[in-house]
């Protein structure tokens, strides 16, 4: 209730200057920040709207065939981008499970990541995809893996004044695909009890050549479960491999009991959802391989 100023800079450089002030907060979609301001949990001195900065808005192909997604791009724009949705369907699905259509018309990947909720739906998919962030701040520019941005509930590794400017997604491999699944009591408008993002790549003979598995809502931050990915590599995702994947996910889960689920249930579901997501990713990868 003491927010003094509102800025809507037209360039990233201007935004960085404004964000250097103490108590300044970047405004992306606002679907977390404005709620927190309403409840008094966030009391920024100034708000810097990023949505009028052209370079932070929209999706473009990168030179390597991957994608760059501007930090202020709403989640629904990801779904509307045919090439991105074809290459990284799991990430697009994760981003389009957040809230409702109303919310997703505003909410951004950057906000979802930097709000640093352990249950954020796009984050396991970002991690599984191997997404990186271009971070801009008073000290200049740097690149960091998306997985390294959240460090604890509500806390990020960004230095004061730093802001995620865009996400960089690698090109999807010819026989690679991703998937994201979450478990919620309601079909929509809910927060993941457990989320699982899987990326994998199939070799010519259909065995899994590489895999990354990330879980949400089972630890203080979304976690990359290397043992789960390793359990798939070299297999055709047979029952034994999937059981090993599930076991690795259960072992990696360190959840708490809270209003959204018990620790025991979350551990059990981590294994189930990761298996289902792996099968879905494999199905997609097989289609790409044959295409």
């Amino acid at each position: 209730m003491t927010t003094a100023t509102f800025h809507s800079p037209a360039s990233l450089a201007d935004a960085v200057k404004l964000l250097a002030a103490a108590g300044a907060r970047p405004l992306g979609g606002g679907t977390d920040l404005i709620v927190q301001m309403g409840s008094g949990r966030a009391l920024p001195d100034s708000i810097v709207d990023l949505k009028r900065i052209p370079e932070l808005t929209g999706i473009r192909r990168t030179a390597d065939g991957g994608f760059a997604i501007g930090a202020a791009t709403p989640c629904t724009a990801l779904k509307a981008h045919t090439e991105l949705a074809a290459a990284w369907p799991g990430l697009v699905e994760g981003a389009n499970l957040i809230g409702s259509v109303q919310v997703r018309n505003r909410a951004t990947l950057a906000g979802n990541l930097c709000n640093a909720s352990p249950a954020a739906d796009s984050v396991p998919a970002l991690i599984a995809a191997g997404a990186r962030c271009r971070v801009v701040g008073p000290a200049g520019e740097r690149e960091v893996a998306a997985s390294e941005v959240p460090i604890a509930p509500g806390r990020t590794s960004l230095a004061p004044g730093e802001v995620v400017a865009e996400f960089l997604l690698p090109p999807q491999t010819r026989a690679g695909a991703d998937a994201y699944l979450r478990l919620t009591p309601r079909t929509e408008m809910d927060i993941a009890v457990v989320g699982a993002g899987v990326w994998l790549e199939l070799a010519v003979d259909g065995t899994c050549a590489a895999a990354r598995v990330a879980l949400g809502a089972v630890a203080p931050t979304a976690v990359l479960v290397e043992a789960a990915g390793a359990a798939l590599v070299g297999t055709k995702l047979d029952d034994t491999a999937l059981a090993a994947l599930s076991a690795a996910c259960r072992a990696a889960a360190r959840p708490i009991d809270d209003k959204r689920g018990t620790a025991a249930y979350r551990i059990a579901m981590a294994g189930v959802l990761a298996r289902r997501a792996a099968l879905k990713a494999a199905e997609r990868a097989a289609v790409r391989k044959e295409a």
């Binding site: 509102f6 809507s8 405004l27 679907t31 404005i34 309403g38 018309n105």
Partner: protein
């Protein structure tokens, strides 16, 4: 606290108002502009009663700062009627008894219009998922979904060459 001067287009009309930096669009619509058709059911984006169109896309106006409206186009429930003519969605809601208390209705209608703008022929499932951000506690959604699908058919009929 400094006041911001905002110029925006609401339902086709240029409007100006003063607001605080943390005033939400919903507060400005209901307060400064006197457009109380958009409702506040939660203030946190969880009920959809405040749904409006911002530059043609539906949003929860409680999750938009009023200052963000500068230079943008807003459509509220008050802008859904064209003159005296109810929108086919409004007509079908009345015909189907798709409202009981009517409090969620403005938000549901704006959201349903956004659906039909994007998808002229939604399935029942598509309509249900699209409207999942709009809580209705009275109807159980049955008649709302029927009304939306009926309005979609009406609009297709209108658009199709005779």
């Amino acid at each position: 606290m400094s006041r911001l001067h905002v110029t925006t287009t609401v339902n086709g009309d240029s409007r100006e108002f003063l607001c605080a930096p943390d005033t939400t669009l919903l507060e400005a619509l209901r307060g400064q502009l006197g457009l109380t058709g958009s409702k506040e059911g939660c203030g946190s984006g969880d009920c959809g009663a405040c749904t409006v169109m911002l530059d043609g896309e539906m949003v929860c106006s409680c999750l938009v700062l009023a200052a963000e409206a500068e230079g943008r186009r807003i459509m509220t429930i008050e802008g859904m009627v064209e003159g005296q003519d109810l929108h086919p969605l409004q007509q079908q809601f009345l015909k189907h008894g798709a409202l009981q208390c009517g409090f969620c209705t403005p938000g549901v209608l704006v959201a349903a219009k956004a659906l039909l703008d994007h998808n002229p022929e939604p399935t029942e499932t598509e309509a249900r998922y699209w409207l999942a951000g709009n809580l209705c506690r009275c109807t159980g959604y049955d008649k709302i979904i029927r009304a939306v699908l009926a309005a979609a058919a009406d609009l297709r009929q209108e658009r199709s060459p005779a």
